[in-house]
């Protein structure tokens, strides 16, 4: 009763593909650090958040194979992640953390 084996299936990315992703991530990091030197004005906070989430999703889906693997893995990981975000944001808001 041989189960279909994940190792034989051709993996999503070639070495060059991974290097390309790594360069993109490095570029985003450089952009993030630039927010420290250049004043982004009102766009400061949103841009930082977007870049952080982008890097997070890129690493999670490409380097950690979530994009190519069974949806159950994504369910497991993102349930934990969104539960953490929801619960802790609610907790901080009772401390009037997000008040202007």
């Amino acid at each position: 009763m041989m189960s279909e084996d994940t190792t034989t299936k051709q993996h999503g990315m070639s070495t060059a593909g991974y290097v390309r992703i790594a360069l993109i991530l490095a570029a985003i990091t450089a952009l993030e650090v630039s927010t420290y030197y250049v004043d982004f004005g009102p766009f400061f906070m949103p841009s930082l958040m977007i870049m952080m989430v982008a890097k997070f999703v890129v690493v999670a889906s490409y380097f950690m194979h979530l994009k190519f693997d069974n949806k159950i893995f994504s369910w497991m990981f993102y349930t934990g992640l969104f539960l953490a975000i929801g619960v802790y944001v609610a907790a901080l808001s009772t401390f009037k953390f997000f008040m202007a």
Binding site: M1, M2, S3, E4, D5, T6, T7, H11, M13, T15, Y18, V19, I21, A22, L25, A26, T29, E32, V33, T35, Y36, M45, L48, M49, M51, M52, K55, F56, V59, A60, F63, M64, D69, N70, I72, F73, M76, F77, T79, G80, L81, L83, A84, I85, V87, Y88, A91, L92, F95, F97
Partner: protein
Amino acid sequence: MAETATHEHAAHHTSTGLSNNKLGMWLFLGSECLLFGGLISTYMLYRGRVGTGPTPSQVFDIPFTSVSSFVLLMSSLTMVLAVSAAHNKDDRATTLWLTITALLGATFVGGQVYEFTAMYNEGLGFSTSLFASSFYTLTGFHGVHVTVGIIMLMSLVGILNKSKVPGSRAETVEMIGLYWHFVDVVWIVIFTLIYLIPV
């Protein structure tokens, strides 16, 4: 589930067709989100309370920390190369890339040790202020996770060059790869929330 070539076993049949180890690892990473989430929200609450001690902007060295984030990112790349080499049953490349990942991880931890010593000398002791306690606890927890990752990488290198059959350890390499990428992803969040957002 990678067969163990030495024992001619049929890989264990699972209802979802996924390997037990990988499912277990992803569940573990899901619960780790809660752990680091708790530490990050403690830091966010206490970041402004410096009492008489130094403030975050006086002790943070942004250029240095951004390089250490870059190093951790590159170690993620080399880890991925190690995993794909393991799947292609090329043990020599796997061992090489695992060693490189371990070395990059070591430089990152070295950078952390330097950062902590420098801050300590600048007056940021563990109990100087709430900012200090929560900063050291958060980055300390992350540093310990990276060190455990490095130890696992080196032990894997040790096991690999003793195993006779190429590619027989592909699954273990993938597990440690998932752990390493998670630690890097947590640093991505920490780097932005703690260092880049001025208090």
